[in-house]
């Protein structure tokens, strides 16, 4: 693997490794506790969206009873309603907290997994915008309640805004106490609180615009589970409301939402100019992450390329590409079909297309179907031929935990790593079976935690549901299995392997190693998918 780094990015990569290790340990612990299907860390982005939906629904209820003319009184009335108001207001608040936490986790995960640069720059930058808008929304929301915490936030906001040459009269004087806080102040806050989500919608659209088939909300069971859990804690422990704001009365302490306003104790002690400088530095640093974390587009980061001589114009790779990086264009030769073209600016080098192309004509350099067969012939097949028995071959993602692979090796499995199981060409599986493997079990990452986004999904479809490039009918499906390998649940990995091994043991002995290596698999033309004629495509 060729690794070329830009000089300024070296420290960033070290930081990524630290985060990856920390997050990995945390993810493993959560998988151990909940199983990979229910691991919320695999769903950090969708959990954020779920919380936004909760905020939207609860916010609609709250705005019905909020009065800009009597903010503190109306919120106190809502909080005093034990049937709906109390827990809906609390749920609104707790959902804000979870949104902030999930968003930060999502950003750290993307950063540590090298998903913050190149084609993902737009998603990163729009994600930063989404988070910033979310924080402003939270700020205005707390101010709207106009309790002691809301007043404290409002004063801090006024103090910071007053150093900017924006307002003709200092904002802070609104809270001086020489007159009631004008209704217009709460109206403006409410307007911002309601209007900004529309801006959020635009940022969200940009955030997902480069993804094909984006996952927006968590799996239903997890989503409802989280909502139920948050509702339960909202009922059991309603969020306290501080005393109504009074500009001429001091408070010894304020119930501060430290998840959202963790910065408040710090900024209150700093001069506004220093705070703004810090904000600018942090914002610039966040926006520069794509620049500082970028990789040279060579080796494992090289974009996919199409070999036009092999491309039949079947239109499968554009359908499978999780980033919409492939389009079909007219050929420049006399063949009557289209040809695939990869946009390197959109391609993230996931290699999913390599597994989707029956004639093996597309994929990142070194990872096309042909490269995979070549790697097998030079690596795993000789080991199979040397073996007196018929081992089970475990194909696993390179991201898979090493401890699991070691345990599988100890059980006698022959390991064959691939960059992502979504890259795996079904011909590689066939080649293994035809060369004496008793069976092939492919361990993918948890579906929502795949760096290629849709690797496990397309793998399964190609293996068992005849999605192009499908595993050929001549391959005994009883000798093929697809499973999930999640850090933190080694028992599940081993159980899946043992179960597969037991089922394979009951089958007849496979063909002798080495006898079939030079047949159809050396001639991809024998299992090409059907090309779509150009005229039909254009119509």
């Amino acid at each position: 693997m060729i690794m070329v780094q830009y000089p300024l990015t070296v420290n960033m990569h070290a930081l990524k490794r630290v985060f990856r290790r920390l997050l990995g340990a945390f993810e493993a612990a959560l998988t151990w506790l909940y199983g990979w299907r229910w691991n919320p860390l695999h769903q950090s982005g969708t959990v954020s969206v779920l919380m936004l939906l909760v905020l939207l629904v609860t916010g609609l209820y709250l705005v019905l009873f909020y009065r800009v003319g009597a903010p503190a009184e109306s919120v106190a009335r809502i909080a005093a309603d034990p049937w709906l108001g109390s827990w809906i207001r609390t749920l609104h608040r707790y959902a804000t907290d979870v949104f902030v936490v999930a968003s930060v986790v999502h950003a750290v995960k993307m950063f540590s997994n090298d998903r913050s640069w190149g084609p993902r720059t737009l998603a990163w930058v729009s994600g930063i915008a989404l988070f910033a808008i979310g924080m402003i929304l939270a700020w205005t929301g707390f101010v709207l309640a106009w309790d002691s915490f809301g007043e404290r936030l409002a004063r801090e906001g006024g103090r910071l805004l007053d150093v900017l040459p924006v307002f003709s009269e200092p904002v802070s004087r609104i809270f001086a106490g020489d007159g009631p806080v004008p209704n217009a102040f709460f109206f403006v806050n409410l307007f911002i609180h309601i209007a900004l989500p529309l801006g959020m919608g635009v940022a969200f659209w940009l955030h997902l615009s480069r993804l094909a088939r984006p996952a927006i909300i968590p799996p239903r069971a997890l989503a409802w589970g989280m909502v139920a859990a948050l509702t339960s804690i909202s009922v059991v422990r309603p969020a306290p409301l501080g005393p109504a704001a009074d500009p001429l009365t001091l408070t010894t302490s304020t119930p501060v939402d430290m998840v959202v306003a963790w910065w408040l104790p710090l900024t209150e002690r700093l001069a506004p100019g220093v705070v703004w400088s810090l904000v600018v530095v942090i914002a610039v640093a966040a926006l520069l992450v794509p620049r500082l974390t970028r990789r040279a587009r060579v080796g494992s980061w090289a974009p996919s390329v199409v070999d036009p001589r092999l491309c039949t114009g079947c239109n499968q790779c554009p359908q499978d590409c999780p980033w919409d990086a492939i389009t079909m264009v007219a050929r420049d030769d006399d063949r009557g079909t289209l040809v695939a073209r990869v946009d390197p600016a959109l391609c993230v080098s996931c290699g999913i297309c390599a597994g989707s192309c029956a004639p093996m004509g597309v994929g990142p350099g070194g990872r096309t179907g042909r490269d995979q067969l070549q790697a097998l012939r030079s690596g795993t097949l000789p080991l199979l031929h040397q073996s007196n028995e018929h081992p089970i071959v475990v194909v696993s993602c390179m991201q898979a935990p090493e401890s699991h692979r070691e345990a599988l090796r100890a059980l006698g499995a022959q390991l064959h790593p691939v960059s992502c199981v979504g890259n795996l060409h079904t011909s590689a599986v066939e080649l293994l079976i035809r060369n004496g493997a008793a069976g092939v079990i492919v361990f993918g990452c948890p579906p929502r935690d795949c760096v290629g986004r849709e690797g496990p999904r397309w793998l399964y479809e190609r293996m068992f549901n005849d999605r192009e490039a499908e595993l050929q009918p001549r391959v005994d499906r009883r000798r093929v299995q697809v499973a999930t390998m999640a850090a933190g649940d080694r028992e599940a990995t081993l159980a899946a392997y043992r179960s597969f091994a037991a089922s394979v043991a009951g089958l007849d002995a496979p063909s002798a190693p080495g006898v079939d290596e030079t047949d159809a698999l050396s001639d991809p033309d024998l299992y090409l998918c059907d090309p779509v004629p150009l005229a039909e495509r254009l119509s």
Partner: protein, 213 residues
Amino acid sequence: MTTSLQIIARRALGALTAAAVLTGVAWGSAVPLHHHDAHSAYLRLSWSARPERIEVCRTLSDEELSKQAEHMRQRMVCDGTFATYALRVEVDGQMLGESVIRGGGLRHDRPMYLLRDYAVTPGSHRFRVSVTRREQAGDVGYAGAVVPDVDTGRFAGRAAREVSEHARLARAAIPAQLVLDSTFTLLPMRVALVRFDAIERRLEVRVDRSPSS
């Protein structure tokens, strides 16, 4: 069987962890954070008032006026700046703060917006707040000038209106000297507010005498 029990135990531990995390969220959502000491009190100065304009005015001659377009024939023209003020805050004869205040905006022609908090020990004190203009008044101000009204037709009475407008602006401006000298009791956790009464043209204090709840 053992595996099933292990999974059940693991999920139970997961439920407990979820409960702990939710409790953590609930706690983190309302952390009591220190704001003011229990024996705090503040003297707050807050007002918005127009600074006095210090200007030198001169009467244009008929010849000078005739060179202007008819609607531009203003007999009295003035040039000047806005006053700055020395603010002194004393408590029981001890200086609490001293500074210069001026109008807002880059040209200082906007109203003076003041918002200052001074920490004071609760109790009865003598407070003295003074605001004193730092500049001398102009030699020839508008108010003292003679403005012969030579306009006729649709501009008739313009000079008188100019005088009236200047007088209104002068009345709206903060006086050359403002002093608040008062003794009152400041309760703990309370803010005494000193503000400028634009109608009475004087400083006044608002003190809440009920104890903080």
